[in-house]
Each structure stands twice: as structure tokens, then as C-alpha cells.
């Protein structure tokens, strides 16, 4: 235990933000910064904030160091690493009073460009680089490594961790390891001489990371698809979903290459557009392969007609929707949860679809695999609803797990033997009363089980008909099937507040990152809320019951129109007045500060204070 700590020292609890120029090679140094802290056993929540552009525009990397393991953005910045003159004013303004500003002091700046309440840490990075390197690219790249060295001194980050990471990152390229080490040491030594190191904000080794891993949700989803047995992927590049398909390719190369022939146990097609990608998924799934597409809102919009076909013709299909700022091209590199309604009710006519709502990469992996079982079991499209925050950011998250005893559930597929034995086959016949009929794969039996798949109405034996009663019979069965889905999709996670309360809060997906912390803070303010984290749609009865058991329930979501609230009101027959929306939709991930402020404000209106226990107590 250190006894000399000043009262303003904040160990493992601060926010560093890097303001960079896109394409300047900063990403790699910034990533090392976050990972070195993780290697010290201290959790971080790291986020790239990037433009829809390849080179030259501003980009930021925000690292929240949180010994408590809070995964949301906190809001505010303690140390700004201001490397982009373009965004200087905005970046400087974002620093918390009493915070620090680290910048390249090669060119002197007038005092008016600084703030009185912020400590300025100037380091002549350009001058150092120009004196050390002759090559222009090296001057640029090593500038990043030099500031990394400086930060290691300023924040007390163990240099040996960075050193080890250099070794891992540039394995086999000794020259690169060496030059990175030198640049790093140069920055570190310079800072040690120039500044009073370490700053009051600093890192100390801890054991709070444990077994957890550091990965983005798109990679997790792709790995989930591998474990879920997907063999066909069809996609069209669209931020923020592209890296999901690319990850699938990488994992398949690793895990799905036939050891004998060297050939592929998978097929990935970059389609000509999203209409084609969903068409391919539907064709493959119809033919008995597990197939998926990865896309975002604009892509789902293009898929609408096909989704109606898949719903009505009952074809399994898995869609990963990595949601982004919408509508239209919207904010392609910003996050939102604004496609709930367009997915839940995708397509013309009476349609409803299954949604899975993972909260982090670990759950994305699990649900990514489960989606294929559900799609096959229910013979319908299943959406895994990620967003940019989960999909493209690296999260500190629980390790992935797989039960080797688990078998893929291919659903109700009638085999050649069953057909041969004379089992009655009606493609749309509800034999089991759960609304789910049997299907056959094409090519199964020479004379039995063949049927015609169509988007037009049909009878229970798949024969074309425009008879009203047959149509209604089929539509009713589809509703029964959707009822069955309620018991199959992941149930909500319900947790009681520390004290009995008449108020509750609902959230889902990436908002979870801000919720744990928010609830702790709200509790300190005397606001106690029972919690329900939604994990899937359709909603099971527990969703209705939770709301019914409370006077007011806050619904936290990242869109303008309170889409989850609409979905709940519509599907659960809830009085909208009971549901109070907390909406965050500026494209940045929702923060605890925002949730605490909004809920506290609204709670006062409803007088949400803990219930006094009645009776003797």
C-alpha cells in the first residue's frame, strides 16, 4: 500500500482520448495502449470513433480505464492526446476541469488556444521524429509510438507489457520490434525528464480482468456462425457489418478447411447487392445448408420482399444486423438501435420475425450460434441484432464457451427413411400442434416428399390455392408458430432492486454497458429499480408480467422513436403510460452519465423512492 498518495490521485479510473487523423497509423499504437493496461489486469472500455472515410478525416480512440470494470462510455475526458490540429478546439473543450492535455509542441501555439483549468503537457513530437528519422512514413508512424512511450511514463503503464506486445505483434520481424522499442523508449525517457511522472491519474496492476478476453462483436458473431454450423454466407459490404463476413472467412479458413483435401467446408459469396445476398441465403437454407448474411439497416431495407417470402414459405435464414445511425445513409460509422421495428415486422403484409438481442461479444457468440438452431427449428428468418458499438468495438468480455455434448438442432426435417415408411408429409401440416410443420430437403426421395415452395398461398400440402379459408388456416398456424417461438428465444434477465420498488427499468443490447453503473449510482440517490434485460423477440409472458408488476417502467433505448416501447405496447397489450422512454440517439454510445441524469429527472416526477415496507418492519 502506498501511503504517499495525494488526495487527487485516481488509480484505474479515468478516461484518455486520442484525437488522430484517419490513416495516420495511430490505430495500432492506440490499440497497444489499451491492451497493455488490460495485461496489467485492469479492465478498459475502448472505442474507436471514426468517420466514413479512409484517409485524412478526424478519428478518435477513447479508452476508459475502469478498475470497477464498467464497460460503457463514461462521458468526459481526463487526458486528451490531441494529435489533430483540425479538431483541436473541440478536443480541448472536452477535457474535464483539472484534466490534462498532451500535444505536439513542435509549433508554438498562442496561449488563447489552451485552457487555464487544464494542465498542458507539450512534447515536440514532430521535431523529435524529424531529428531521428529521414523517411516520411517512419516519421509519421513512430510519432504514434513515441507518444505511447510518453503515456506509459505519464500513466505508469508497465513498459514490459508494451514490450511483450511488440514482440507478439511483430513476431518474426526483429527489425520492426527493435525500431518500435527504440521509439517507445525515446518517448518514455523524454516524458520522464519533461514532466512530473506519473500523473495523479494512473494505472496500477490489478486482477480485475481475470479470464476475460478482448474482442469485437462482429468477430464473436462470425465465430458463433462457425459454431452454429453455418456453411453458406452471402453478403454485400456495408459498414458496420463488413468485418463480420470477413471474420467468418478468417475463422473458416482456420477451422473449416478439410484436412485431407485442403478444400473448403464452407462457401462465402460477396453478392452483387443485399437482394442477392438474402436470396442466396434463402436458396441455401431451402436446400438444407445453414446460411446467413451480415448487413445493416440499409441492407435490411433492400431485403424486405425476400424476408416476406422466407416468412411465408417458411425458410430458415439468419441475418446479423449490425445497426448504425439511420435513416437513409444516416451516420454510417455511428451506433444506434433503430432497426427494431423494421426487422421485427420486415416486409409487406402480416409478418413477424424473431430477434435476438445480445449485449456484448460473449452473448453475440452464443446467440450467433443459437440463431441457426432457432431458424431451423422455427423455419423462419432470425435476426441477431448487434449495433456498431458491439460489432466494431473491442470489448473486455467473458471468454467463449461451448458444450461439446451439444448437437446442432436441424429442426423438423423428414428423412428418406421416414418417407419410405409411409409417414404422411404435408409441408404446411401442423402435426405437433406447435405450428411448426415438417420439411424435406430437395433430392431426398424419388417419389415422396417433393413439394413446391412458393410465396403465394397454399394449402397444408403445399398446393397452390387462393381459397380464403386455406389462407387463413395457414396464417393462423404461422401465429401458432410465433407463439412457440416465445418459449424458444432467450428469456429476459430479471433482477430485483436492493429494496422493494414499484418502478422498473428495461433495456437491451449495448445499452447494458452503461446500465450496471447507472443503477449503482441511482441507488445511491435513493432510486431503486427492478431490472429486466430483454434478450429476444417475441416476448414471453415474463415481459408482460414484469411491466404489470410495476407502476412505471423506464425503457432505455438508442433510437428516437422509442421502438422497443412500441414493440412492447403492441405485442404485450401494455398501457403506454406505464412505460417511460429514456432515449439516446446522437450516434454515440449511451453513457451512464446520460442514463443517471435522465432517469433521476424523470423519477422525481414519478416520485420513485423505495417503498416503505408495510407492517411490523
Amino acid at each position: 500500500m502506498r501511503t504517499d498518495v495525494r488526495p487527487d490521485v485516481r488509480v484505474n479510473d479515468f478516461v484518455v482520448k486520442f484525437a488522430n487523423v484517419n490513416g495516420s497509423g495511430s490505430a495500432s499504437a492506440n490499440g497497444l495502449f489499451a491492451r497493455a493496461i488490460l495485461r496489467m489486469g485492469v479492465p478498459v472500455a475502448a472505442r474507436n470513433i471514426f468517420p466514413s472515410n479512409i484517409q485524412g478525416l478526424p478519428t478518435w480512440y477513447e479508452v476508459r480505464v475502469s478498475g470497477d470494470g464498467w464497460r460503457g462510455r463514461r462521458g468526459g475526458v481526463d487526458l486528451m492526446v490531441a494529435m489533430n490540429p483540425q479538431t483541436w478546439d473541440k478536443d480541448v473543450a472536452e477535457i474535464e476541469p483539472g484534466g490534462w492535455l498532451f500535444y505536439d509542441s513542435t509549433k508554438p501555439l498562442p496561449a488563447s488556444r489552451f485552457r487555464d483549468d487544464v494542465t498542458v503537457l507539450g512534447m515536440p513530437l514532430t521535431a523529435i521524429c524529424n531529428a531521428t528519422y529521414t523517411d516520411a512514413r517512419q516519421r509519421q508512424l513512430f510519432k504514434n509510438v513515441i507518444y505511447l512511450g510518453a503515456l506509459s511514463a505519464l500513466l505508469d503503464i508497465a513498459p514490459e507489457e508494451i514490450d511483450r506486445l511488440f514482440g507478439e505483434q511483430y513476431k518474426g520481424k526483429e527489425a520492426l520490434i527493435d525500431s518500435n522499442r527504440k521509439a517507445f523508449a525515446m518517448g518514455r525517457e523524454h516524458a520522464q525528464q519533461a514532466f512530473d511522472c506519473p500523473l495523479p491519474i494512473r494505472v496500477a496492476r490489478s486482477d480485475r480482468v481475470g479470464e476475460r478476453i478482448f474482442i469485437d462483436g462482429n468477430s464473436a458473431a462470425a465465430l458463433g456462425a462457425v459454431y452454429g454450423g453455418a456453411t453458406v454466407a452471402a453478403w454485400y459490404p456495408l459498414t458496420p457489418s463488413s468485418s463480420l463476413a470477413e471474420s467468418f472467412q478468417a475463422y473458416c479458413r482456420k477451422f473449416r478447411t478439410d484436412p485431407v483435401s485442403g478444400k473448403k467446408r464452407y462457401a462465402i459469396i460477396q453478392a452483387e447487392d443485399e437482394l442477392a445476398s438474402i436470396g442466396m441465403v434463402i436458396g441455401a437454407a431451402w436446400n438444407g445448408a445453414r446460411a446467413f448474411t451480415a448487413t445493416s439497416g440499409p441492407g435490411v431495407s433492400l431485403m424486405q420482399e425476400f424476408l416476406g417470402l422466407a416468412y411465408f414459405a417458411e425458410i430458415p435464414a439468419v441475418l446479423f444486423n449490425v445497426q448504425r445511425g439511420s435513416p437513409s445513409t444516416g451516420m454510417p460509422t455511428r451506433t444506434q438501435q433503430a432497426d427494431l421495428l423494421s426487422c421485427a415486422y420486415a416486409s409487406h403484409g402480416d409478418t413477424k420475425h424473431v430477434l435476438l438481442l445480445p449485449e456484448d461479444p460473449t452473448e453475440t457468440f452464443a446467440m450467433g450460434a443459437q440463431a441457426f438452431d432457432l431458424a431451423d427449428r422455427l423455419q423462419t428468418p432470425v435476426f441477431v441484432m448487434l449495433d456498431l458499438d458491439i460489432g466494431m468495438q473491442d470489448w473486455v468480455t467473458d471468454p467463449f464457451e461451448w458444450d461439446d455434448a451439444k448437437r446442432l438442432d436441424r429442426g423438423k426435417v423428414m428423412s428418406a427413411a421416414e418417407l419410405e415408411a409411409g409417414r404422411d408429409f404435408g409441408r404446411y401440416l401442423d402435426v405437433d400442434g406447435d405450428g411448426i410443420p415438417y420439411r424435406t430437403y430437395p433430392g431426398t426421395h424419388p417419389s415422396k416428399g417433393g413439394y413446391f415452395t412458393r410465396g403465394t398461398s397454399k394449402d397444408r400440402y403445399a398446393r397452390y390455392t387462393e381459397e380464403g379459408p386455406a389462407y387463413v388456416d395457414n396464417m393462423q398456424r404461422l401465429l401458432r408458430k410465433f407463439e412457440t417461438a416465445k418459449s424458444l428465444v432467450p428469456a429476459p434477465v430479471i433482477t430485483k432492486a436492493a429494496k422493494p420498488t414499484r418502478s422498473g427499468v428495461i433495456w437491451f443490447g449495448s445499452s447494458g454497458a452503461a446500465m450496471g453503473e447507472s443503477l449503482v449510482a441511482l441507488e445511491l440517490e435513493g432510486i431503486h429499480l427492478d431490472r429486466m434485460r430483454l434478450r429476444g423477440f417475441p416476448f414471453c409472458d415474463a415481459v408482460h408480467d414484469f411491466i404489470a408488476a410495476h407502476d412505471h417502467v423506464f425503457v432505455v433505448e438508442q433510437n428516437r422513436d422509442a421502438q422497443m416501447k412500441s414493440l412492447i405496447v403492441n405485442e404485450c397489450g401494455i398501457d403506454p403510460a406505464r412505460l417511460v422512454s429514456i432515449l439516446h440517439y446522437d450516434g454515440t454510445p449511451i453513457t451512464a452519465r446520460f442514463v443517471i441524469r435522465e432517469i433521476a429527472e424523470k423519477a422525481r416526477l414519478f416520485n420513485v423512492t423505495p417503498l416503505r415496507r408495510s407492517g411490523a418492519a
Partner: protein
């Protein structure tokens, strides 16, 4: 999923193919199209071709878009799985199906509206990818099912039934298919089964994307004077480059021809296409010449039919993707799921 073919019991007098199937086993439901519609003749040609090819009907998957033409898969190969998808998007569904199981025969049936208008993009890309399939467009120059509007293959200057003149340039799907990388491209006429049946057989035997543009008059909306897709007009302007027959690998080649009369091309499955000379010698393996020939005949107002382009050393999408030989839909859990130990390795690499 191999299954021994079991013939149905039929009238003993019906002829059977080598698998024991009669022609009736390749039929489907009764057609609901207009009497005299060209599409019905194409269905009959498909039935005959598959019967003669000795392909078990259930090993064929037939896919279509939307239109009168796209309805026809109901009227042939009744024991095959069929998929009537959405308008203009059959190519993607077929591509997906072909990815899932490379062991079936894929037959795509579409219309000129379905393929040249709404579906032109998917038409283009399915050819580019070299999906192993037979893609037939039943080309009548109009949207039959929505009652006679011009489609994108209607010729400039041709007249609709109500007298409207088409002002737009037509899309020639055969020309397009060649430029897009289809490796078997033919054109035929629904009224010429002697030409069409062997073309379908050869297209099935071909490995890769095979396309047949079949002129198929719409008696309800496009069979009048002033139409360039009527029975009379097509008959009068039909100019065939060759006349062919297809000999399956099991058949013995018996007839002998004088040198120069016939060119034989052996296809992927061992079958042989014999191209009989019509007029001057035509070499369908020369892509540039094929395109030029199409263009010359188009300029002369003639409808060029026959096997226009054939790339005998073709490959398909699976070859390009390097997928394993086994159908992807038949892989077992053990072949698909890496298991928990592998996952532990992934976890370790992420710390």
C-alpha cells in the same frame, strides 16, 4: 442421400428410360397457361429432355421467379422440389441452393421481364459466377402475367397488341450471357422441339453456367402482326447456325458422318454434342466470332438460333470457391463445429 430410383407402376405399354421411369414420371401438374402459349411447349421439351437423359426427377431442383413463364415449373418434373421465388431474383436463390448441394441438377426458369427487366442484375451476376445450372428464359417480349406490357427484350419499333410502338433498345440476353461469362449459350424457339430438346440435354450435361434464350410467343398479348415475337415472325426470321444432337455417355455413337459434316464436342459428364453443319461452318467455341455473328444477324433482322457459344473446358462456381466435393448440406456436426478445445485456443489468443 443417395436413394435407389423406384419406378411407379404404370401402364406396361409406356416406354421406360434406363432408370425405369416413364415419360409421365417427368410430368407435373396440368398447365393453367393459355392454350397455345409457347411456354407449354418448352415444358414439354424439358420433360422429354430429362426423360431421355435418364436423370431421376428428384435429383433436379427447379427454380423460377414470377411470371407466366416462372409458373411453368409446376407443370413439369412433379417429383422434383421446386421454388417459385420472387420477381427477378431466381438467380440468387438458385445460387444459394447450388452452394448448399452441388450434387443436384439446377434448372432455372424465367421470363424476359423476370430476367431482362427487374432481374437484369441478378441475371448478370449468376452468369459471371458460373453457377452450374441450366437457365432458360421463356422470351415473349412482354409481361404476360401482368397483361401485355413491353418487356426489355421487345424490339425497337415492334408494336403492342393495342398498337403502341416500343421506342427502347432491346436487350439481347444471349449476347449479354456470352459477354458475362456464361460458358454455354444457345437460342431456340418453343415451336422447334427438334432443336430445343437436344439443346436442353446438352445444357444439362454442360459443367457451368448454361443459358438458353427460348423465343416463346405469348398468344394472349404478343402474337399479332407488328410483333417481332409472334409465331409467324419467329418462324420467318429464324436462322439456325447449327443443328445438333446430344448423345449421353451411356449411348453408343452409331451413325457415321462424312468428314466436315459434323463437329463433336465431348462435355464434362462424358456426353457428346454433335453439331451438324447448316450452311457455312460455324465454330461455337470462338467467343469473339460468336458475338460478331449474333450482331451481324441482329443487324440483318434475323433471329439466330442454335448452339451459339460453348466453352468446352468450363468450370463452375464450386471450382472457383474450392469447396469440398461433399455437399455442404450433408456435413456432420463433427465436420462443422470446432468444439470447446479449439475455442479455448481462441480465447487464449484474445488476452
Amino acid at each position: 442421400m443417395t436413394y435407389l430410383a423406384k419406378p411407379k407402376i404404370h401402364h406396361p405399354s409406356l416406354a421406360k428410360n434406363s432408370l425405369g421411369y416413364t415419360r409421365r414420371d417427368y410430368e407435373g401438374a396440368i398447365s393453367t397457361l393459355c392454350a397455345g402459349c409457347g411456354h407449354d411447349s418448352i415444358s414439354a421439351a424439358i420433360i422429354q429432355a430429362f426423360y431421355e437423359l435418364d436423370i431421376p426427377p428428384h435429383r433436379v431442383a427447379k427454380l423460377s421467379g414470377i411470371g407466366c413463364s416462372s409458373k411453368t415449373p409446376t407443370y413439369f418434373l412433379g417429383n422434383s422440389h421446386g421454388f417459385n421465388s420472387v420477381h427477378g431474383r431466381m438467380p440468387s436463390v438458385l445460387t444459394g441452393a447450388a452452394l448448399a448441394n452441388r450434387d443436384l441438377v439446377y434448372l432455372g426458369v424465367s421470363g424476359d421481364g423476370d430476367s431482362a427487366s427487374i432481374g437484369l442484375g441478378q441475371f448478370a451476376h449468376v452468369m459471371r459466377r458460373g453457377v452450374n445450372m441450366v437457365y432458360i428464359v421463356e422470351n415473349n417480349g412482354v409481361y404476360g402475367l401482368t397483361k401485355g406490357q413491353f418487356s426489355a427484350t421487345a424490339d425497337r419499333g415492334s408494336k403492342s397488341k393495342r398498337g403502341a410502338v416500343n421506342r427502347d433498345e432491346p436487350i439481347d440476353l444471349a449476347t449479354l450471357a456470352i459477354t458475362l461469362g456464361a460458358t454455354f449459350v444457345a437460342r431456340s424457339f418453343s415451336g422447334d422441339k427438334d432443336q430445343l430438346i437436344p439443346l436442353i440435354k446438352a445444357a444439362v450435361a454442360h459443367h457451368g453456367a448454361a443459358f438458353i434464350d427460348v423465343l416463346s410467343p405469348c398468344v394472349a398479348f404478343n402474337n399479332h402482326p407488328g410483333s417481332t415475337k409472334s409465331y409467324d415472325y419467329v418462324r420467318e426470321h429464324n436462322e439456325s447456325v447449327n443443328f445438333l444432337d446430344f448423345i449421353s455417355p451411356r449411348e453408343e455413337i452409331t451413325t457415321e458422318y462424312a468428314p466436315g459434316e459434323v463437329r463433336s464436342v465431348v462435355l464434362h459428364d462424358g456426353g457428346t454434342v454433335r453439331l451438324h453443319k447448316v450452311g457455312r461452318h460455324y465454330d461455337p467455341s470462338d467467343r469473339a466470332a460468336a458475338l460478331a455473328y449474333l450482331e451481324t444477324h441482329r443487324a440483318a433482322g434475323e433471329i439466330l438460333t442454335g448452339l451459339i457459344y460453348l466453352h468446352p473446358e468450363s468450370s463452375d462456381m464450386h471450382d472457383a470457391l474450392e469447396t469440398i466435393e461433399a455437399p455442404l448440406n450433408a456435413l456432420t456436426d463433427a465436420e462443422l463445429v470446432p468444439g470447446n478445445a479449439a475455442l479455448a485456443g481462441v480465447n487464449a489468443s484474445l488476452r
